[in-house]
């Protein structure tokens, strides 16, 4: 196991600072499930952080010049290259520290916030390069399962059968024809020190994952489920409910992978809720037939069971196993 995580003490809600490093007054929609995990990440990381945004909702809603919501230094360059911009910052900090131009012992977190389009699709090469080169940065993929900023177009992160404006629920073709891309598998295959999935409903689990990501030496990746009421046709007040249901239906299991080899399931779902309970709260799925719902159900169980097996076979060495993070 990673020595940086050997004595990890989970944060409790009492450990959290009152300060936020993303100021209120930004322009996100009501019930936005993307800005919430972004804000919580900054709460954990604190002021000694440089944030990098990919183009997308979070960049737009936080930076209409001359206003900014960012209380930490922040840079947005383009859509696909946030991981590489972070690479450059990492290299700069290393070089400047070595040359005595920055205090050597001061830890500066570098965190990327990017959507599913910027991560699964257009930025995949850049992400892969940055992970492979081993830069010391945290990449948080805020996955709302389509190109929401441009008006809900399909991405590689869009689930099967979901209606988007470029995968409409037509009379012949019923929404998105492909299964969600296995981005987690791709990222894990880079054997990075830390990988995790998270959902805003399990916010302490998520924030502890951000903390771990900041502790490891090298790249860390957190895939965060991020409901989008506007794009999904869900109620603003259902964002947290959906974030909970997606885990309880096995559609988005919470797990961690250390160094690409040790799998940890954070939350066992022995008695899953039917996927229909989750799907029916979102208009993007309202055209689904019973057969289609069954297919989604079957896939959710298959994928979950595969993950459980991975976690059994590739569990971290016994003596160092962490107790599972307590959920709220």
């Amino acid at each position: 196991m990673r020595p940086e995580l050997a004595n990890f003490k989970p944060l409790s809600i009492k450990d959290l600072p009152k300060e936020d490093w993303l100021a209120p007054g930004h322009r996100a929609c009501q019930g936005c499930g993307t800005v919430l995990p972004l804000k919580l990440a900054l709460k954990v990381l604190g002021p000694n952080t440089i944030a990098v945004s990919a183009t997308g909702c979070m960049e737009i809603i936080s930076s209409p010049f001359p206003y900014t919501s960012w209380k930490v230094p922040w840079i947005h360059v383009a859509f696909e290259n946030a991981a590489t911009v972070a690479s450059g910052i990492d290299a700069a900090i290393k070089a400047l520290k070595r040359k005595g131009k920055l205090p050597k012992k001061e830890k500066i977190n570098i965190v990327v916030f990017a959507g599913d389009g910027a991560t699964f699709d257009i930025g995949l090469q850049f992400l892969s390069g940055a992970l492979e080169r081993g830069h010391n940065f945290i990449y948080i993929c805020l996955d709302n399962e389509a190109y929401m900023n441009t008006g809900v177009q399909r991405s590689g992160g869009t689930p099967k059968f979901a209606h988007t404006t470029t995968s409409p629920a037509g009379k012949v073709i019923h929404g998105n024809i492909t299964w969600k891309k296995n981005l987690d598998g791709i990222v894990i295959a880079h054997n990075i020190p830390y990988f995790a999935t998270a959902s805003p409903a399990f916010y302490m689990d998520y924030m502890n994952k951000v903390k771990k990501a900041s502790l490891v030496d090298g790249p860390a990746f957190i895939h965060v489920y991020s409901p989008c009421p506007t794009g999904w046709g869900s109620k603003s007040e259902d964002t947290i409910l959906l974030s909970r249901l997606v885990v309880e239906t096995r559609l988005f299991p919470l797990f961690e992978v250390i160094d690409g080899k040790y799998y940890i399931l954070n939350r066992k779902v022995d008695k899953p809720k039917p996927v229909e309970e989750y799907l029916k709260l979102q208009r993007r799925y309202r055209h689904l037939t019973k057969e289609e719902i069954d297919l989604i159900q079957q896939k959710a169980n298959e994928e979950y069971e595969r993950l459980v097996k991975l976690c059994e076979v590739f569990a971290p060495p016994k003596e160092e196993t962490k107790e599972e993070t307590k959920e709220t």
Partner: protein, 389 residues
């Protein structure tokens, strides 16, 4: 005075970059840029250069990483050619709008298709509107000197600088080159101190969205900055002359006194063209040569002064601007003249695409055709020269 040593120009350029004490190098290999970045990697791995070398997975990433590193306050370097420059295209106007002092050496090469690794100026000419300061070297010594100059200018103006040298023709030749003494480089180039950078102690937001109410003002501000960089460019060459004894100016002239016809050209072909000038001068023809060393900001007054009272200009472009009114230099020159009272005949040829040799005899022919054009206006606004029928 330093010692003149025979060196491959790419190696000398890389050595000059190292002398500038860069903090971060981010590069992706492409012919004919490779020797530059290979040598830098060697210097880093041998402990001769204290820098982070990021072997990125593409040119787009090379520039992305330079932007990140420069925004964090590091002195950065990258180098590319051709398709690589086109692949990093999206980032180029962002680097200048962010006012980042990135230095890039472009080993100029033609662009696909057909794929070709040989030299012309097609690559860089696609980027001329992006707010980068752009200089062109004629030979290896100039390439090295333009690298020192680039950092000095970039960091004074807070603008990115592209130093152009002809692929193979300049990059791969061995020339006697005089490197600046390290202490002189250090004197010329004090440590980079960015007023605005990504610093947790003084947070700023970079890359905000520019709504219509502010976008125009942002572009105007950059435009003013690029225009204002002219004085810094010239001043930095004056200071360079004091420490090196080598004198540079935005527009170079050769035998322009009393010239009736002048060739206007950029890059290494100027040396061959100078031989043609000498031969024609020996025959009593009043010819001269004008070479742009500085391309952006466009040195309009220097150019107008340089051409004196010529009757005709023979503009030799190294890139095509398809179905336009000329090659990029031709278009620029005509536009500059129109804003003055000078009205020499402008004959615009496009030559030397993809490393096609342009010999002394070719230049003599181009001069002769330009002489003919004084009395008889050509029917073309530009001609691609030397096409095999």
């Amino acid at each position: 005075m330093g010692k003149r040593v025979a060196k491959e120009v790419s190696i000398a350029v890389a050595d000059a970059v190292a002398q500038c004490r860069v903090d971060v190098i981010s590069a992706y290999p492409i012919t004919p840029q490779t020797h530059i970045v290979e040598h830098l990697a060697e210097l880093v791995n041998n402990g001769e250069l204290d820098a982070e070398y990021i072997p990125v997975e593409s040119e787009h990433a090379a520039m992305s990483a330079c932007i990140g590193a420069a925004a964090a306050g590091a002195r950065t370097f990258t180098s590319t050619s051709s398709q690589g420059l086109l692949f990093m295209y999206e980032n180029l106007p962002i680097a200048s709008a962010f006012r980042l002092p990135i230095v890039m050496v472009i080993a100029n090469r033609s662009i696909s298709a057909p794929i070709s690794i040989w030299n012309d100026h097609s690559d860089v000419m696609t980027t001329r509107d992006f707010g980068w300061i752009q200089t062109f070297a004629e030979n290896g010594q100039e390439a090295v000197d333009l690298v020192y100059h680039a950092y000095r200018v970039a960091e004074k103006c807070l603008l990115p600088v592209a130093v152009n040298l002809d692929g193979f023709i300049v990059t791969h030749v061995v020339e006697p080159i005089e490197m600046l003494e390290q202490e002189l480089v250090d004197k010329y180039l004090p440590p980079l101190k960015m007023k605005y950078k990504l610093d947790p102690k003084k947070p700023i937001s970079m890359g905000a969205i520019g709504v219509p109410e502010v976008y125009t003002e942002a572009k105007k501000a950059l435009d003013e900055a690029v225009k204002a960089s002219y004085k810094v460019v010239v001043q930095a060459w004056k200071e360079f002359e004091k420490i090196s004894g080598r004198r540079y100016q935005p527009v170079e002239t050769y035998r322009m006194d009393d010239a009736e016809v002048a060739m206007v050209i950029m890059g290494s072909l100027a040396e061959t063209a100078c031989n043609a000038v000498d031969e024609l001068r020996a025959k009593g023809k009043k010819v001269g040569l004008v070479r742009f060393r500085l391309w952006r900001p466009f040195p309009m007054q220097d150019f107008l002064k340089a051409i004196g009272k010529v009757k005709a200009l023979c503009v030799v472009d190294r890139a095509v601007s398809h179905a336009s009114t000329g090659g990029p230099v031709g278009i620029e020159v005509r536009s500059a003249l129109y804003q003055s009272n000078k009205r020499p005949r402008v004959v615009n040829f496009i030559a030397g695409l993809s490393g096609r040799d342009v010999t002394k005899d070719d230049f003599i022919e181009l001069f002769e055709r330009t002489f003919e054009a004084i009395s008889k206006k050509p029917k073309f606004s530009y001609e691609i020269y030397g096409v095999k029928e």
